[in-house]
């Protein structure tokens, strides 16, 4: 133990030295490497925001010495405490008091103060000095400026681009001396685009057709086919369900059942019928307020009721009602505007120009709902949704809500939005965010730094939706286009897809983002069109091979001179396993299902006494429901499905715009031993067993279905070795044990040893890194 500690410590010392040497380069490079013209937005604001604004920024209550550095006029004017001096004197760092305080040797004078645990790096100080010398010009934060379509940049290699995206990407690559990879081979490309557009691996037939089709339009045809597959809507919905914190239970204490799934069916439907994004969000924010609102538009507003709702006896009603309104406000901020509005819940935002008052002005749009913090919980379908709610009748699902997969004639109720019409609930600033500590009363409004709220708009959620979908709104299109980009490249053009504010990362390709947004809006917010543009670009179609040289120049693949390679999402791992084995049940929508899950998880976590509820014990489904797509797995918030959580799925506690992508031993264990995987391997082995083919062909076919390409000779040989070894070592008894997994029936009269041997080879195929990777 002592030795390990020593090693760790000595290693840490080396690493910290290394970091000390290299962090400057992460922030921009060695001192000699400074840009010719210093940009406030790209070079200075990130430093100021991170190191200065907490005390000299937008939060009036915490502002020190009356000094504000985020606004030019304030930074230039005479200092409150020392009227003879100025924090920043454009052109004259030596006269700028702020600069003097950043560089002083006197620790009592130094800024940021040592006790803040913040400090400026030499490179940062040099940047600031040069910026002041060049006139200390301030700029509006890049993401708060309306989108303006830039011109398409010039590139040297004119042959490579397939569409406009590629010019932007290539231009940056050429700047860095990078060249794009070759196009990916057809098999890998097909797997990639199929996973990206439908969440499913390509079928055997698709693979055959695509390989056989040598026409130049072969790829475009496949893209069209996939975009028209109803599985496209399911794929796109998974991200939106994270954004919308959709779940099948109320969350909190007792965490009982909720029947919100028809809203999820609507999301799938909306993506499939390609509802334009401006309508997509308008219906969700304000469908109930549209003139002659349809039932479908009302159902869409379930978005704002997906938040957790308490059923804990003894809570204070108003405390929770306030929590729900806050959740909606925060979700609106993060999901649609990509800003961390919640920071202004208790005080003015510390980094972004959002006052606490503005927070509550925005909050007031969501504060007029006819809802309760706590409703009685006497059980039954009427508690599975909370007021205000809508009923979905059998008649509805035959006519106006055909996409709702209502399996029976029982009462179906969904929580939706609905405002008080007779009176409007007053909204106050809540001091320190405390629910009953009312401050000044406020009227509906928005953070004006983003875009003022026009007087012509109605002061309700419909007006808010119109404000958000106004083409001059600088954030809405950027945030969504960035999320879509993230779905296809693993990370957004703005890496912090939930924070476009001062503390967020700057876009890697700002011009590309703006071009895409302008194009997206001028083409009617057409989501499928945007998706098609992305997947038909040469950028997307590159191979994912990583060369040592590119790894050195661009380890994080910011410049996309290769296709990103990363693990697929939890839901799609299950889909791949079920689909390749032929088990997948393609039913769309309906109540969520309870597939295999290790015993005892719900039971161990449930409340005791009278409140075990209908989700106290896990009642696993049987038959076809076991083989539904991963996205239909029942999400009980307090005990989310383990095989999903292990692979970084959201617990749907709150709005999430980006999942982590981790690699852990628990993931290896799940792939090795989850009955879903084992059963799929057994079933696929059984099917192949019944085909009249050579054993090597069976192995190769399984590999093709699972990895989505023909195995190489060495791969075939290794898998054949494994099969041979298993044939030699398995006994009847062992084979029977291995086959005893899952509820799907065994083929009759199977040769158990052969079957189990092939099953184990297939299990290993499912465990290959490449299988669950977009490559």
């Amino acid at each position: 133990m002592r030795r390990i500690v020593f090693l760790v410590v000595s290693f840490c010392c080396i690493v910290s030295t290394w970091y000390a040497c290299t962090s400057g380069s992460q922030a921009g490079g060695a001192l000699g490497n400074m840009p010719d013209t210093i940009s406030y937005n790209f070079d200075i604001r990130p430093i100021f925001s991170d190191k200065c604004f907490a005390c000299h920024g937008p939060d009036a209550a915490k502002r020190e010495a009356g000094l504000r550095l985020d606004v030019a006029e304030d930074a230039y004017k005479a200092l409150k405490e020392n009227p003879g001096a100025h924090a920043i004197v454009p052109g004259k760092p030596e006269l700028s008091e702020a600069f003097a305080r950043m560089t002083t040797k006197d620790s009592s004078q130094l800024m940021p103060p040592p006790n803040s645990n913040l400090k400026l790096l030499p490179y940062e100080i040099a940047l600031i000095e040069k910026w002041i010398k060049q006139g200390a010009k301030y700029e509006k934060h890049w993401s708060f400026v309306a989108v303006k379509s830039p011109g398409i940049p010039e590139v040297k290699n004119k042959k490579w681009p397939r569409n406009q995206i590629d010019y932007f990407i290539l231009q940056k690559q050429e700047e860095k001396g990078l060249e794009p990879n070759e196009e990916a081979d057809k098999e890998r490309l097909l797997k990639r685009v199929s996973l990206d557009l439908t969440g499913l691996p390509p079928s055997a037939k698709m693979m055959e057709n695509f390989l056989a089709d040598n026409s130049p339009k072969a790829y475009d045809k496949v893209v069209d086919q996939l975009l028209n597959d109803p599985a496209y809507g399911e794929k796109m919905a998974v991200h939106w369900l994270d954004v919308a914190r959709y779940a099948d239970s109320h969350g909190y204490q007792d965490d009982n059942y909720r029947s919100q799934w028809p809203w999820r069916d609507w999301v799938i439907h909306a993506f499939n019928k390609n509802l334009p994004y401006d309508k997509f969000i308008t219906w969700q924010i304000a469908g109930d307020l549209l003139p002659n609102a349809t039932k479908e538009q009302l159902l869409a507003t379930g978005f704002n009721r997906n938040h957790k709702i308490t059923e804990e006896g003894g809570v204070i009603d108003e405390e929770y009602r306030v929590e729900y309104v806050s959740d909606r406000t925060n979700t609106f901020g993060k999901a649609l505007l990509g800003v961390t509005l919640e920071c202004a819940h208790c005080h003015d935002h510390k980094y972004d120009p959002f006052s606490q008052k503005e927070y509550y002005q925005l909050y007031s749009f969501f504060n007029n709902v006819k809802e309760y913090g706590f409703e009685s919980i006497v059980g039954g379908p009427e508690t599975w949704a909370k007021k205000p709610k809508m009923q979905i009748t059998d008649e509805d699902v035959k006519s106006v809500l055909k996409f709702v997969n209502k399996p029976d004639t029982s009462n179906l109720i969904v929580s939706v939005m609905g405002d008080n019409t007779d009176s409007v609930r007053k909204t106050y600033i809540l001091n320190r965010g405390v629910y009953d500590s009312h401050g000044e009363q406020v009227q509906p409004g928005v953070p004006v730094a983003i875009m003022p709220f026009s007087n012509k708009l109605p002061k309700n959620r419909l007006g808010l939706a119109q404000w958000a979908t106004d083409k001059r709104n600088p954030l809405t299109s950027r945030v969504f286009v960035n999320q879509v980009w993230q779905e296809f490249f693993g990370k957004g053009i703005v890496k912090t897809s939930g924070d476009f504010g001062m503390q967020g990362e700057l876009p890697s390709h700002p011009a590309l983002l703006d071009w895409l947004c302008a194009d997206f809006m001028s083409h009617g917010w057409d989501i499928k069109r945007l998706v098609r543009q992305i997947v038909t670009s040469a950028t997307y179609r590159q191979s994912a091979v990583v060369s040592k040289a590119k790894m050195e120049v661009d380890p994080d693949n910011i410049f996309l001179a290769r296709s990103p390679r990363y693990r697929i999402k939890a839901e799609f791992i299950k889909d791949l396993v079920l689909s390749s084995s032929g088990l997948l049940n393609k039913t769309i929508g309906g109540p969520s299902v309870k597939p295999y899950q290790p015993a005892g998880l719900w039971e161990a976590a449930a409340s005791t006494g009278g409140s075990l509820g209908m989700l106290g014990t896990y009642k696993q489904d049987h038959g076809a429901q076991l083989y539904r797509r991963g996205m239909y797995t029942f999400i009980k918030r307090t005990v989310p499905p383990p095989a999903m959580g292990i692979f970084d799925a959201s617990n749907r506690d709150q709005c999430e715009v980006k999942r982590q992508s981790t690699n852990t031993p628990l993931q290896a264990l799940a792939m090795m031993n989850d009955p879903t995987v084992l059963e799929a391997a057994r079933v696929l082995a059984g099917k192949l067993q019944q085909e009249k083919s050579a054993e090597q062909d069976k192995i190769n076919k399984a590999f093709r279905l699972i990895v989505c390409r023909k195995p190489g000779d060495k791969e075939s040989a290794l898998l054949a070795d494994l099969y041979k070894w298993r044939l030699e070592t398995l006994t009847q008894q062992k084979a029977s044990k291995l086959l005893a997994v899952g509820e799907y029936p065994l083929p009759k009269n199977a040769d158990k040893i052969k079957l189990a041997a092939l099953m184990q080879v297939i299990v290993n195929m499912y465990n290959l890194e490449e299988t669950i990777t977009k490559s």
Binding site: L7, F374, G501, P642, T662, K714
Partner: protein, 485 residues
């Protein structure tokens, strides 16, 4: 072996790391397996400041065992002796004591708030003369090892937010749990076991549920998530291979898997592939290490006797206490127990007796056991719930039955070992056990103190996420210096 560590390092910061290999770092990449964040951008998106794996100052404790009494045990029947409540039995809670403080929706509608004293007697024990109720006879024998804090207070009044507050420092939001922070901050001491483990048990009393968000990694890497150990055949999810697959056969399967993966690496050149191979190796090692650490068959009869017969029944609190010792002894940084069933809104006398019976012997045994192994000095043990209970009866007060509602203003917990002063009682409540009159300890103070004992400055253990620097103690908290040894 070195190569294996190396590969894991790649996993943790693969691409950037690879690009730095030319700096000659590869040969010293040993620590990263134990301190996964070492090679990531330090402190989240931060470029300097805190370095995962290196304490800020010399730690007193290496590990924590947190015996969470989920549902909130009454301080008035455990450690906070209030004879006045017996004297004033049935009389109304004076407004001068309540001072208009908010009540839960369960009792705010009550017409009267009759005071009720403990149904059980208290006595003084040990050198410290600490008062302990007769419900805790075993605990009363170890009071000289304990620091009893009678002046805890919290901000939440309901279970879910109060539990979440204790574990993550915030009532709402998906923030990392204390164990995840420590895993992040200090790494693991054992490469074959998770740094943060969770054990659940349930008593006979009425109880509240637990939620996996209590052991979440929040925005930290999911390697820091609490790994739940369950009773029964399979202690960790998906750990066991199928019947019919021997250990040797698994080994051979994995070797074959690695070979095929290697082919893919040769073609694609992505270090992620090697990282994946290493995760399978770690999974394989866990398959050996976890059954070993959860096997109590080699424990001596004396030990079994000390923890009580329940410790042989998997999934009980006593079994979990014994398992906690074994995990901790094997280097698990943070062992979090939750024992459910402490929510005595009604039938307190009957239910609380049963709950105390569940936990008293094993909690005390854990302290004694750690002490005799010389581990108590470096292991911080904490016992307590998420808030306290009211001094008045919830529902009807009868001669021998009553209940108590939630009370965040004042409650008791105890700590032992890990550099906490033994044999002291800290803080005082008023004669009514309602308000704190001396040395209040806020939940953030408690958390700051726990981190302090592990060598971490709570103001420096930060992680930057979506533009904000987060701490376990949010924006407050101060170390309770008075209780440090």
């Amino acid at each position: 072996m070195a190569n294996e560590f190396m590969e894991h390092a790649l996993n943790q910061n693969r691409r950037r790391f690879l690009s730095k290999l030319s700096l000659g770092l590869g040969s010293v990449a040993l620590g990263s397996l134990l301190v996964p964040d070492l090679l990531k951008g330090i402190g989240g998106d931060d470029d300097f400041g805190f370095t995962p794996g290196i304490p800020h100052f010399a730690p007193k404790a290496q590990r924590v065992i947190y015996l969470f009494q989920n549902g909130a045990p009454s301080q008035l029947e455990s450690f906070d002796y209030k004879p006045k409540l017996r004297e004033m039995w049935g009389q109304e809670l004076p407004a001068s004591v309540r001072m208009g403080q908010r009540l839960t929706g369960m009792t705010s509608g009550q017409a009267s708030f009759p005071l009720v004293g403990s149904f059980v007697d208290f006595k003084q024990y040990g050198q410290s003369g600490a008062w302990v109720s007769d419900l805790f006879p075993y605990t009363s024998k170890i009071v000289d090892d304990l620091c009893i804090v009678k002046s805890m207070y919290t901000e939440a009044i309901n279970h879910d937010p109060a539990l979440t507050f204790f574990q993550t420092g915030a009532q709402q939001g998906n923030r990392p749990s204390m164990g995840a922070w420590l895993s992040y901050g200090l790494g693991s001491e054992n490469k074959n076991l998770p740094a943060f483990t969770v054990l659940l048990s349930r008593g006979k009393g009425v109880g509240q549920g637990v939620y996996s968000k209590l052991w979440t990694n929040g925005f930290l890497d999911s390697i820091h998530q609490g790994v739940q150990f369950s009773k029964g055949e399979e202690p960790v999810l998906y750990l066991n291979d199928q019947d019919g697959l021997s250990k040797a056969e698994r080994r051979k399967m994995l070797d074959n898997l690695a070979e095929v993966n290697q082919l893919s690496y040769q073609e694609m050149g992505d270090p992620e592939i090697n990282a994946k191979i290493q995760q399978y190796e770690m999974a394989y090692r866990m398959q050996t290490a976890i059954p070993e650490v959860t096997d109590i068959s080699k424990e001596s009869d004396d030990i079994i006797k000390m923890y009580g017969p329940d410790c042989l029944v998997p999934g009980t609190y006593a079994a979990n206490c014994l398992l906690a010792r074994k995990l901790s002894e094997n280097g698990v940084r943070f062992v979090q127990l939750y024992h459910q069933g402490w929510d005595q809104h009604g039938n307190l006398p009957g239910d609380m007796r049963k709950q105390a019976l569940d936990v008293d012997q094993a909690s005390a045994a854990l302290i004694t056991d750690l002490k005799q192994r010389g581990l108590l000095d470096e292991t911080l043990v904490i016992w307590g719930g998420e808030f306290g209970r009211t001094n008045y009866s919830q529902g009807a007060l009868t001669k021998d039955n009553y209940g108590r509602d939630h009370h965040p203003r004042c409650f008791s917990i105890w700590m032992a070992g890990g550099g906490i002063k033994p044999g002291i009682v800290y803080g005082e409540s008023d004669d009514f056990g309602y308000n704190i009159v001396k040395n209040p300890v806020h939940v953030h103070d408690f958390q700051a103190t726990v981190l302090n004992q592990l060598g971490l400055d709570h103001e420096k253990l930060i992680y930057k996420h979506l533009g904000r620097r987060y701490r376990l103690t949010d924006v407050s908290g101060k170390v309770v210096k008075d209780i440090l040894a």
